[in-house]
Amino acid sequence: MQSDPNETALDRLLSDAQSDGPSDDLFARVLADADAVQSAARPVVPQRAPRRWWREALDAIGGWPTLSGVTAAGVMGVAIGLYAPDVVDDWAGGQLTGLSGGLSVAPDLGALVWEDGNV
């Protein structure tokens, strides 16, 4: 049986059409679109400012309230060391000497040494 020549030519034409393809430019445009869509979809991570070492240390001890307490205690310690005891005692309202029974803040150990001849 002889095939229809028109049908055969059409089949060859349709077969040739399968090799038709897009230009390189279209490939590039499509890939650029893909890149743009991917870039837009990428989540934006907020940039954190770099933390300084002293900030980390401050947070570790409890922040500014703690630091101010420590500072006040330090200032008091220096004052106690620098000034004469009576001045500091004045600041404290005379309670330091009152509590210890005079200027001597240590107990009288001499009495313990000689009591009954034993230490």
């Binding site: 229809d4 020549p5 028109n6 049908e7 055969t8 030519a9 059409l10 060859r12 034409l13 349709l14 040739d16 059409a17 399968q18 038709d20 393809g21 897009p22 230009s23 279209l26 490939f27 445009r29 499509v30 890939l31 679109d33 893909a34 890149d35 869509v37 991917q38 979809a41 990428r42």
Partner: protein, 195 residues
């Protein structure tokens, strides 16, 4: 470790869509290499205009990229079916807006004189003749013939792409091919198919 290019080639389109959504740029390359040529051919044969076909193919691919984020890789929707449905709709929109047909006399004049230019001209003339013959067919018939006889999709796939029944596809492709054959009758020599 990211899968290599060769590994991506073995993945199906749905899996590549998920990789694309996760930011893998190589997935876009593999999908483009697979899907763009048939999408372009589909539009080119239906529209009969290369520049318009490129616009439609690019637009359809852009919609595909944007759809990747919500794509389900469970095989519920086939990527190529989805894409050709978009191409079919975009092409029909353009045809309805313009209402023009392409004839053999609208083929660009050749300016290429390099070796192989004659062969390119023959191919160009053949595609122009095919486009002109396809332009005489009703829209649905044209789409069905292109998808069946050029892109090689199955009738159920075409039915899903065009939103019609399988029997309707069979009828459209059979009638379309007969009409094409009649339209091209007598052009065998002109097309360079003379033995």
């Amino acid at each position: 470790m990211e899968p290599q290019d060769a590994t991506l080639d073995t993945l199906d389109d749905g899996a590549l869509m998920v990789l694309f959504a996760n930011g893998d740029p190589m997935a876009a390359r593999v999908l483009t290499a697979r899907l763009l040529p048939p999408a372009y051919r589909h539009a080119a044969r239906v529209l009969g205009d290369k520049a318009e076909a490129e616009d439609v193919a690019q637009d359809a691919m852009l919609r595909l990229w944007k759809a990747a984020d919500g794509w389900k890789a469970d095989g519920a929707a086939k990527v190529s079916t989805w894409l050709h449905r978009v191409v079919a709709n975009l092409s029909i929109d353009r045809l309805r807006r313009s209402g023009r047909a392409v004839g053999l006399d609208e083929t660009d004049e050749p300016s290429d004189t390099s070796p192989g230019a004659e062969q390119k001209l023959t191919q160009s003339a053949r595609m122009a003749a095919l486009d002109a013959a396809l332009a005489r067919l009703p829209e649905r018939q044209r789409q069905a013939v292109v998808l069946r006889h050029i892109e090689g999709f199955s009738n159920p796939e075409i039915a899903e792409m065009l939103g019609i029944g399988v029997e309707a596809v069979e009828s459209l492709t059979a009638r379309g091919k007969r009409a094409l054959s009649a339209a091209l009758a007598g052009q065998k020599e002109a097309l360079g198919y003379a033995e």
